[in-house]
């Protein structure tokens, strides 16, 4: 076993320090060492998008990074996007438009949706489909996710900003 390394990560706005083996993936560290189990593991080879987080503001797959690589970084997980009790518009829209069923892909979908809208405030359904293609859902057939993201985009634009 290689020696543990200390890693300092700003997680959802708070500084945290964890001690991990170099081989530990960032996804596992988020779930096990930081206790944030909203980040899900669906494939561990970068295909499904369930482990999507924001790393310094950009979407990444946390299963394709080592925890030690996040030293000094800021990460945002699904637990960090609501403003206290107030849901992020993307979260509300997913519920309102039935953009989730089993909920397993949902944290990744919501973060990917926020990322899409942050770059394109008024995406068309086709743009949403192309931009979010890296996130897999087995339950919804995607149509209601597209509707959710569109609806959230409208709310986010009206509120004058994204996440």
């Amino acid at each position: 076993m290689a020696e543990n390394m200390s890693v300092v990560i700003n997680v959802n706005g708070a500084g945290r320090e964890v001690s991990v083996e170099p081989r530990k993936t960032l996804a596992d560290a988020i779930r096990e060492d930081l206790g944030l189990t909203g980040t899900h593991l669906g494939c561990e080879h970068g295909v499904c998008g369930a482990c999507t987080i924001l790393l310094d503001g950009e979407v990444v797959r946390s299963c394709l990074m080592l925890a030690v690589q996040a030293d000094g970084a800021e990460i945002t997980t699904i637990e960090g996007i609501a403003d206290g009790d107030a849901l992020h518009p993307m979260q509300s829209a997913f519920s309102e438009y039935h953009g989730l069923q089993c909920g397993f892909c949902t944290p990744g979908m919501i973060l990917a949706g926020i990322d899409v809208v942050s770059r394109n405030p008024d995406p068309s359904p086709q743009e949403i489909r192309e931009e979010m293609g890296g996130n897999i859902c087995r339950c919804t057939g995607y149509q209601k996710i597209v509707e959710s993201v569109q609806a959230a985009a409208a709310v986010m634009s009206a509120e004058g900003g994204s996440a």
Binding site: M1, P22, R23, D28, H45, G49, R61, D115, G133
Partner: protein
């Protein structure tokens, strides 16, 4: 699916990275964007004793457009795809980058990592071959410049880089006055292509004066010399494009897998070559299929 044990170093300079490579040699693996290497670690298909993470080497990330386009090996694909300098010099590059994986992959993946990993279905090795790019490889002993053809040869998931060498820069000569087409066919948006082609041609108005075609999705990235020969000197039009398509099928090292037969892929490269050339002739964009 958890990685086996490895030692980990995160050098902050090229020199440090080269020293580590010199020290660990074949037992070491360079971690660039990690979008191909980390899955292999998770599957335990790659079991390096030592991982040298060069993400902290800031001097490997740059795009410079003074003269030839020079791109640092650790330039992320998102930055590559969104760079005005790159798009201005070689618009085929952003067209190709748009087809690589998905946003989350491009945010981490790097140009140097893609070349060094050399997946035969990856876009960039073939595109850079068509652009006659060169790479700089450095080791503790010095540096050398390698043409794309010589870097890739007919290898897959491997290059002619030595174990102690680090790919540091990609240099692409100007190709003023050329036009391009880029076509690939993947079963889903963002997947590795079953076949794909980047075509860069120059005409004097009607006759094709230069043609460079790079193909991917076969057993290895390759130029398509028969197709190029069919184009140079010919009138830009359906007849030349059809001849080039047939030439591409002859040149393409097609192979069978779960996604399609070799016969199908040979046919695809023909169709895609013709479509890419039509795009180039019409200065249109590109895309899947």
């Amino acid at each position: 699916m958890k990685p086996a044990v490895f030692d980990y170093s995160a050098p902050e300079s090229i020199g440090e990275a080269l020293d580590l490579l010199a020290e660990h040699g074949s037992g070491a693996k360079v971690l660039a964007g990690g979008q191909s290497l980390v899955p292999m670690l998770n599957f335990r298909l790659a079991r390096p004793a030592h991982l040298i993470d060069v993400n902290g080497v800031g001097s490997l990330s740059y795009i410079s457009a003074n003269g030839a386009l020079r791109i640092g090996a650790m330039t992320r694909l998102t930055a590559l795809g969104e760079s005005g300098d790159v798009a201005g010099a070689h618009p085929v590059i952003p067209a190709a980058v748009a087809q690589i994986g998905h946003r989350a992959i491009r945010n981490r993946g790097t140009i140097g990592g893609s070349l060094a990993h050399n997946d035969p279905a990856a876009e960039l090795p073939a595109v850079l071959m068509a652009l006659d790019a060169e790479v700089t490889a450095r080791s503790a002993d010095g540096e050398r410049v390698i043409g794309m053809q010589d870097l890739i040869e007919d290898r897959l998931f491997d290059t002619t880089l030595d174990d102690t060498e680090l790919l540091t820069e990609i240099r692409i000569p100007a190709a003023a006055g050329s036009s391009f087409g880029f076509r690939e066919f993947a079963r889903r948006h963002g997947d590795f292509a079953l076949a794909g082609v980047a075509a860069v041609i120059t005409t004097d108005g009607s006759t094709i004066t230069q043609a460079a075609l790079g193909a991917f999705g076969g057993t290895h990235a390759t130029r398509l010399p028969t197709a190029e020969a069919a184009l140079v000197g010919a009138e830009a039009g359906d007849a030349a494009f059809a001849a080039a398509g047939a030439g591409a099928a002859a040149d393409f090292p097609a192979t069978s897998d779960v996604h399609g037969t070799a016969e199908y892929r040979s046919h695809l490269i023909n169709v895609l070559t013709v479509r890419a050339l039509k795009d180039a002739a019409g200065q249109a964009g590109g895309g899947n299929g």
